[in-house]
Symmetry: C2
């Protein structure tokens, strides 16, 4: 596909993350106004709430855009999602007869504050990156062998929705229990191995009923869109707590997502297959679709006071072994009801080469291989004041589908009473 | 404490679960009416929504009782919780001047359908029963030794809120991946080791801020009340899936709770200490309160068509090693924000004797010791059509604080395409 031209300034460059082909959904406010739904186009945001008030768009009786989330739109279902996208495309296309009517409702992105684009119902995190799973095994269990179930199950666990925050939110270093291998007793204090996980987040738009499974193809159609996701991780807390019931407080202090929901519709031209299966998947995971997407991803780090960020890693979402649709199918396979606003983390995305690793744990090989930033600082894990940023884009012919950034700065831990 | 007398029929017997001392909160409807807030007293339900409409109770501007959950009341905070309880006690006490005004708003429980008493924000399940942890270790890992972290951490994991249902809801046997130890490949089909877990559920009323820990004493004051909780478990699915990230689909097909929230206030006379600590807990888990409660618990099973249920187990919530307040403190210790409506499962409650075990897994010792019901049927795990029921009560001097029942019947699994 090629660039679709728009009359909006800045939307027709090959560099903008937000051409007419994209039309991602976010929640924004300007000084003195309430958070409401908006659509990014070029350097602008189309104020959907104002457009609705003006009678220029009507998706549902009573309105859906005067809300601090897109859940109301998601609940309308795929037919309305398609109608909304078609209407926006028509209104914003070069030569549109609606230009004069629509132009007053564009707000410069530079004047807007972005908020969480959805109300997260529940958050589930998966473990679908093969290289990451092998690396973690090699570091933590002394062998790159995958867990016995890994080639059969899209392994996942339930995370904490209340900790999901929008890009730009500072993250406080967690206190937690850790135990040195040779220590008699555990200790409680600031995390010493603070990490990121480079992931994509899939957002469930259409619910499934309690007790009713869905196929992979149905699951794919249930997904409203995708965001970048950083599953901040406290490796030392996690390693002491996770047996036998999995990650808990090591993953509960913050999960950042990018502010714009890029719809599955916008990503259609970038579908990519899952890799050849080393072991045939069970029939309930059969699918006729390519469930991954060709999305270039990048991680950068910038210490406090540094004048520039250093790119640590570049990889691609098409590296994953399981798709979000497969994960969602497995999630509902026993009858678990899925809801509008459920967020599924892909699992850490690491490619085969070290330059493609999606966590510091892998990049510094559990602390044994410190790395040096462009500005000279040496790092293993994250220090207070460091800013970590994820970027993502799908690159088409003369245009790109950008996700914006997913960024967060680490604040010092809460001081403990002495 | 002794029985507080009420003018409501049936509220003054030593056998009623709902004397004036209790006043538990639920959501009910009668034929042709919407679910709304009610308070159980004797054989009746006080219709709080109607009372509010009549101007006989006013807790907050705009009203809070015309709702299918108690979250609105919980959000008002502990001072209002206390004011509500005092007002209800005054209105329903023997000799109350309000009797004539209030009496028209009593609805017979026999005419009411009960619904979920809260909107569950997130569900977390813990593993705080020592006997249960030792039994599981002995059966699954060949040793009753506790996991290394168990005496230091109130071990927990995030569960699935969308699967929490009210007592009386049928539970469909889940399909899922399992793998026989000697099989080459896993299989997908109906769970063969369907189990219960006898638990208490603590309901968070007061939220905590993202990034801010709470003390155990603060956590105790945040808890609005308790319910009985049955964390239905698919043992065979769980054992194949749970490494390395914990339980997932083995726990996602249903968690039943009793319909009445028994407030912490009603349970105050029954506080019980946690047991002597084998290893001193870290200071962040220090507390000045007795966080457990003396609540007698019972599990029974009734096959389809049987004329009576068989009691399988009797135990007590005071058997636990960690209290809900300690669990909540640990949950927030890294900065995880807790919300109104969060539900914390205690973990399976098993006493030291086999007659006190809180799961079938323990009662049939992983299938090796089938047991016989009073009606002659032999069981290890749950068969289709079986009804499992939990009961709980705190017994005072001539009265009891009852929880009602937490019951569910197992339906056959969804048929797979052949």
């Amino acid at each position: 596909m090629t660039l679709m031209k728009s009359w909006v300034t800045g939307a027709n460059s090959a560099e903008t993350p937000f051409p007419l082909n994209n039309l991602p959904y976010g929640v924004f406010s300007t000084e003195g106004t309430e958070p409401r739904c908006g659509v990014a186009i070029g350097d602008m945001i189309l104020d959907m709430a104002a457009l609705e008030t003006a009678g220029l768009i009507a998706l549902a009786a009573g309105g859906v855009f005067h809300a601090p989330c897109w859940n109301g739109v998601m609940e309308l279902g795929p037919d309305l999602w398609a109608r909304l996208r078609a209407r926006l495309t028509q209104m914003l296309a070069e030569g549109s007869e609606h230009r004069a009517a629509i132009a007053p409702y564009l707000v410069p992105q530079a004047e807007a504050t972005l908020h969480m684009p959805l109300r997260v119902s529940e958050y589930t995190d998966f473990y679908a990156g093969r290289q990451h799973a092998q690396n973690m095994g090699a570091m933590l269990r002394g062998s790159p062998d995958l867990p016995a179930n890994w080639l059969h199950i899209p392994v996942g666990y339930n995370g904490r929705a209340s900790s999901v925050v929008v890009s730009g939110t500072d993250i406080r270093r967690p206190n937690g229990q850790t135990k040195a291998p040779d220590a008699e007793m555990p200790d409680f204090g600031p995390c010493k191995r603070l990490d990121i996980e480079l992931e994509m987040g899939a957002i469930v738009g259409t619910p499934s009923a309690f007790g009713a499974p869905v196929t992979v193809d149905q699951a794919d159609a249930m997904i409203f869109g995708y965001v970048l996701l950083n599953d901040w991780s406290a490796r030392d807390i996690q390693s002491w707590e996770y047996q036998p019931l999995g990650p808990f407080q090591g993953k509960a202090f913050g999960t950042s997502i990018s502010p714009w929901i890029v719809t599955t519709a916008a990503l259609e031209p970038f579908r990519a297959p899952t890799p050849a299966r080393e072991r045939t998947l069970l029939p309930y995971l059969d699918s006729s679709i390519d469930g991954l997407f060709d999305i270039e991803l990048e991680v950068s780090m910038q210490p406090a006071g540094a004048d520039r960020a250093t790119t640590l890693s570049r990889t691609n979402y098409n590296r994953m072994y399981y798709s979000a649709a497969e994960q969602l199918c497995h999630h509902a396979s026993g009858g678990c009801g899925m809801n509008t606003g459920d967020l599924l983390g892909s699992g850490t995305i690491s490619g085969p080469d070290k330059s493609e690793y999606g966590s510091l744990m892998e990049l510094c090989w559990a602390g044994r291989e410190p790395f040096t930033l462009d500005t000279g600082e040496v790092r293993t894990f994250i220090e207070d004041g460091d800013t970590l940023t994820l970027r993502g884009r799908a690159v088409g012919d003369g245009y790109q589908i950008g996700f914006g950034t997913c960024t967060g700065t680490i604040l010092p831990a809460v001081k403990l009473p002495s």
